[in-house]
Structures are given as structure tokens and as C-alpha cells.
Symmetry: none
Subunit: 217 residues, 4 copies
Amino acid sequence: MPTETFLNLSEEKRQRFIEAALKEFADHNYDTASVNRIIKELGIARGSVYQYFTDKLDLWLYLKEYSEQQKMNVIQSVDRKAFTNFWDYYRALFTQGIHFDLQHPLCSRFLYRIGYKESSKEVSNYLDGWKSKAKLMFTHWVEEEKEAGTINPSIPTELAVHFLISMSTSITELLQNKYEVNFDENFKNGKPLIASNITEFQLAVNELIQLLAKALT
Amino acid sequence: MPTETFLNLSEEKRQRFIEAALKEFADHNYDTASVNRIIKELGIARGSVYQYFTDKLDLWLYLKEYSEQQKMNVIQSVDRKAFTNFWDYYRALFTQGIHFDLQHPLCSRFLYRIGYKESSKEVSNYLDGWKSKAKLMFTHWVEEEKEAGTINPSIPTELAVHFLISMSTSITELLQNKYEVNFDENFKNGKPLIASNITEFQLAVNELIQLLAKALT
Amino acid sequence: MPTETFLNLSEEKRQRFIEAALKEFADHNYDTASVNRIIKELGIARGSVYQYFTDKLDLWLYLKEYSEQQKMNVIQSVDRKAFTNFWDYYRALFTQGIHFDLQHPLCSRFLYRIGYKESSKEVSNYLDGWKSKAKLMFTHWVEEEKEAGTINPSIPTELAVHFLISMSTSITELLQNKYEVNFDENFKNGKPLIASNITEFQLAVNELIQLLAKALT
Amino acid sequence: MPTETFLNLSEEKRQRFIEAALKEFADHNYDTASVNRIIKELGIARGSVYQYFTDKLDLWLYLKEYSEQQKMNVIQSVDRKAFTNFWDYYRALFTQGIHFDLQHPLCSRFLYRIGYKESSKEVSNYLDGWKSKAKLMFTHWVEEEKEAGTINPSIPTELAVHFLISMSTSITELLQNKYEVNFDENFKNGKPLIASNITEFQLAVNELIQLLAKALT
DNA sequence: CATGAATGAGGCTTCATTCAT
DNA sequence: TATGAATGAAGCCTCATTCAT
């Protein structure tokens, strides 16, 4: 966790630091990410990093927590109770996910890497958190929907959960393919990750969810 | 590609080398994988590696080709024509995939990493091959099945393909969760990756495929 | 070009570094020169070199520029306009060349290597500069002197230039032979390269220039 | 010196070996030359080199002796007694030098490197031989010509010798410049080093010798 | 006499981290 | 609190040479 020194930094400085670090860790795996590059990008002293964080891992953990918090802020604005239909709720979650992408591209990419590309042993202990949390959430929902009759009770809960999570996570890839959006290029050019029409994305999401619904009902 | 020196090695030596290298590249991303560790593990001289391969990339490419060949050997034993029903064929492919896991755990894990975890720029040019190949195959099938009436023609081909591929690739994860098998631990301990009853796996696969069929029909 | 880190070094440290590096690159061709030897000689850490320069080539280029600058400082103190006779001017240039040898033996030896011994492909792109510059200068002079009647117009300019340059560069060798001075030994022992009486050197130079003048008049 | 094994090799094998080795040592300094590349070029076993020669230095020394012998064979065909005029003799030596270049381009280039580019400490002990031999020869001639009245006795012998040797050795460079012949390119392409009209070369040499004669007479 | 696999020292370079100022 | 020079382990790779077959 960051030192008080870091927290006492001016808002602007802190944000600049966070963004540069996020960019580095979004572009590279933990092992390959370079503190060197971060300080060069920022034009700050080598030592500063170690006045803010005890070491590379500490910095990484902070960025992870920070990004997860950002995501939570966006996602949690969707209230389950506002939807009578589970699939509408599920769709709304997706939509918020896209908004998160647009508003916090760095966080988004960093979390994407953590979730699906990261494999350094140094951080392996900290990778499971989000997935198991998601599994809990989805398990809860599936059980609810089984009772409500939205999901076929004969389908093993675990299988249904797997289905839903797999699709949630692979949606990014689908969108990239369908719209030939190259996240990496947009990222390099400083554009928002999703540069094309967001409503088309919604349509694609709708189609996908219809399939899921059909499978699970 | 390997030098003659490597090909002239005794079968036993060559296999030992391949396994150690596979293990290293299965355990670590390209950038993080260490030639040093490989030679320490094998107890051979640093220079030997470079008598066998021109450089790290050359070694990696060989392991990739080797593993893909191993997988092909296993997968291609399944003949589409032997099945009247597409889903039966699909199920058979899965089954062979599991066999491949059992027979070639290192290759399997290495290919898994290449397909889903690798992000080094050094090898990025060589990563697309398999995915685009798979997409072509699945696209072909989906179109066939649409004509045959097995798959609902109103579902966009691209979406259906995405669905099928996502499930094919995430199956491993599902199996790990369902049976609480930890591939990594088994891997470390030298056990086969899938240590429990294979017939239960088949059941899980069947259930999953039923969902897919339901969604896509 | 050196990093700020290098430029911020204390004058003393920087000079120590430059001298050690010059010594290494004066003693060995680019390919054979060893960063390792430099740091051992200096008793500094391996990484320091790469905090000062981006790589070996960068270091070499800096030393080249540095040495050329040193030489320029010495040579440019001779003003063509101060001499009515070209041969007097030419003699003065020689004299300054000897002074440069005495004051900057390392630079002198390094430049000598660059000009006549270096053959590494890595630096081949950077070798021509000085020679072609010298050729331009001498061509200019020869044409002037032809008009002034000092140099026989029937002698092809190119030949005359070659003559003058060859002599300029081989003068060092002549001096070594005539006075049995062994630059290498003096160098090793830390003595100035030219250990004997400088006025005798002047006499030798005079004799040589008389020959040149006779040939070209 | 080569082992009997080498001398017992078939003429053809031996020549192939010599040429490949010469090419390597003509293209690279002693330190940079690679036994690796030689055996790759020849397609022979690593060990063979060490059955023929005790080590790299031994091989180099053999090539040096071999090349010098080849040059001697060509040069010594010019008999001093066949010329009444020293400058005619000197000119004939040059001409033979050019012939040597044409007939033994590899040897020629190798000797050129040894004479002017080599600086490895490993071979430094063996570099002086040719130069001091040449100096003896030229000293002898100069003294003779002083007595004969061809060379002005008031010019110090040492200076005259230096003059003659400098010009002999820099002639190559002059020819390259004047005729824009790029030895290196011709060498790579397997052409004779001097690809253009040899009679033009003779003219250039004549001009140069006239200058020398004028200076020294 | 030929072979070619094995060796390990040494090359350049990058990196996270420390610590005196 | 900020700085940035120093550190040395570890990375990949090349090389001349040896030696069992």
C-alpha cells in the first residue's frame, strides 16, 4: 500500500503517477513492466517510486485495488432491484462495462491483463480474488433465477455460472472481431478503446444475451 | 528451427531437453522464461542450448510447432465423416482434447499459454495462427450446419462461431472448477493434469454441449 | 550521447571515466574493447556504464566526438591568414598535431585507431567523416596554391592531396622510427607518448616538408 | 604450424580450407574472426580445424606465412639487375603488386589487414616482420641510389625510406579513390579486387613515382 | 583421421532497489 | 521530501577449444 508520502501528493501529481504506472502495467506483464520506463515517462526521480511504494509489487497491488475500485464505482450503479428481468439486468451490467472501458481505459486494460494475461509467479497469489468474487455473485444470481423460473433448474448451477462468466469475459474479444476494433492501436494513439458506435455494440450484446437466455432457460 | 546437432541427439536426450524447455515455457511467459533455468534443470552447459537452436525465439518456435504437431496427431484422429450429428463430432473433439491433456500435459499447458496468456511483443507475430485457423474451421462448420438445419440460420455466423470457440477454450477452466482440480499443483507435483475420473469429465462435457446445442439450434 | 547522469557527474569522476574508456578504446578495436575491463579498471559497477550511455556504441561515439573536439581546439588555434607561405602554415599544423599528441595522448591514440585501424562493421558508418573532411580541406588548399603558383598546376590535384594527407598521417610513424620512440611502451608506462626532445621533432618535420614542397612545386 | 594431418590432405581440400580461412581473416580482425564461420562455410567438422592446427593463432600464423610466400613469389620475379634506373625498378615492383592483387585477392586483402588494420594483442608480436624487412630493403636501395646519384645524398636516408614506404603502402588507397574502386564490394561479389582498366592504374602510379623522384632527386 | 556434442568463460545489456545528499 | 548515482544479479548469446566415438 502506498506510503503517506504518496497520499500527501497533490491530486494532480498523484493522478499523473497513477496513469503512467497503469499504462506501463497495462502494456506489459508484471515481470516485464519496467519501473525505469515509468519514471522516464514521468520525468521523476528513480527514488520517488520507492518513497511512494515499498517496491514494485506494492505499486502493482495499489494499482489493482485502485482499478477495481474504479470499476466497482461504475458497476455498482446498476441496481438489481431496478430490473424485473434478470437478462435485462445482465445486459445493463454489460453496458456499464462498456462505459467503464470508455471512462477508464487504462484501468480497463490493466484489469483485462490481470484477469486473462497475467502469469507471473510474483503476483499469482493475488489474481484469484476477482474471479472467485464474480463466481459467488453469479452463483447467487443463478440460484435466484432458478427459483424464479428464469433459468432451468435442471442445469447444474456450476455449469450455468461457467457459461455466464465465460461469455462475460469473452465479449471483449467478440466485439473486437465483429467491429474490427483494435484496442491496442487505439490505446497507443490515446483514443478511447472503443472508438466506433456504441449502439452497434449494444446490438451485438443483445444478440449474445439472447443466445445465453435460450441456452439457460 | 533446430540445428542438426539437436536432431542428431539421442532420442532420450532430445526428449529430456524438450520436456525441460516445455516446462519452462509452460510455466512462464516468453519474456520471463529463462534459458538459464532450463540448463540448470538439465545440468547442461549454457552453450548447448545455442548449439541446438539459434536463439530463444528459435527454441520457442520449435516448441510451438512440436506441440501443435502433437495436438494435431491426437485431434486429427477424429473424422468428421464418421459422425452424422455435428454435436457428436464436437463432443468427440472435446474428448480428444482431454486425451491430449492427459498424454501431453506439457504441450497442453504450453499451448494454453500461447493461446491465452502470452503477450510478449517478441512472439506476437506468431500467435494468431492457431486462432484464425480455428475460426475458419468453425465458420465452415457453422455454415454447413445452418444448411443442414442443425444450427438456426437466424443466428449470425460470427456470433455462433464465437460461442463455440469460447466454450471450447474455457472448458479447461470449467473442468478445473467442477472437480476442484488444480492443474498447477498437479503440474508441480509431476502428476497428470487431470487426476480424477475421466468419465465424469465426459458427463460435464455432455452437459455443456447440450447447452450449446440448445442455444444454437 | 551521454545521459544527464553522466554530465552531472563530478568533473573528476567524469574525467576518470573518460580516460579509462579512452584507454580501452585506444588499446582495442571497437569489437574487442571490453566494457568489463573499463569497469574493472575503474572499480565501478557494471550498470553504471549504462546509466551514463545507452550502449557501447553510444559510448564510442561520445569518445569520438570528445576527442575530435579536443583536437579541434588545438588545431584551430592555427590561423591560415597568419601565414603568407602555405608550407609555413602546413608546418604549423604539424607542430600543433604534435602538441595534441603530448597534451592528449589518449585522444590522439584513439583517433589514430579510428582513422587507420578500425574495421568493425558496427562503427563503419561513422568512420568516414574525418577523412573526407580532411580531403576537402586539402583540396581547397591545393587549388589555392596552384593559383598562387606554390604548387605546380600540372600535378593532378587529387594526387597532390593524396601526397599531403599520406604524409600528414604517416608522420607519427616516422617520428617513432627516427627517435626510436615506442608509443605503445610509453603509453603502458604512463609516460607522455613523445618522451624526447620536441625541437628535434621539428627538425624532422621541416625536412619532410621540404621534400613535399620540392615534389609539389 | 600445421600438423602433418593438414599437409597430408588432398590438394583440393587443403586449398578449400586455406581459402575459406583466408576469407575469414581478410574480412575480420584476428579477435573478431570466427572459427565457427570458417567451418560453417566449409561444412566441415569443428574438430578438424584443431586436427590441422593447434589453435586459432597457429592457423593465423600459417595463413600469414602462406600469403607472404605467395607475395614473395610474385614480387621476386622482378630482378633489380634488369633495370638500370631505380625508378623503373620501383615502378615494376608496383606493377607486380597489382598483379598480386589480381591473382591472389584473398592473400592480398589478408596482408593488407595485417599490415594496416590489425591490432589484436594476441598477434601483435608477429606484425612487425614485414615492415622491418621492407625498411631494410628500402634502406639498402636508398644508399645505393645516393651513391649512384639518383637520390640526393643530403636527404637523410631514414627520411627518404619513410617517404618511399609511405607511398608504397598508401598507393592502394589512392587507387581506390581515383577510380572509385571499392575493394570491399568487389571482394564480397567474388570479383578481382581491381576490376577496372589496369593501364589506367599504371598511369596513376607513374604520376606518383614522378613526384617521388622529383622530391628525392 | 574425422566427427560434432559439450563446455564454460566472457561478451553486452537491463533491472529493481538502495542510500547519501 | 526529493533526488539520482551506484549497485550487482541476472538476462541472452558467442566463442575457441576439448574429447569421446
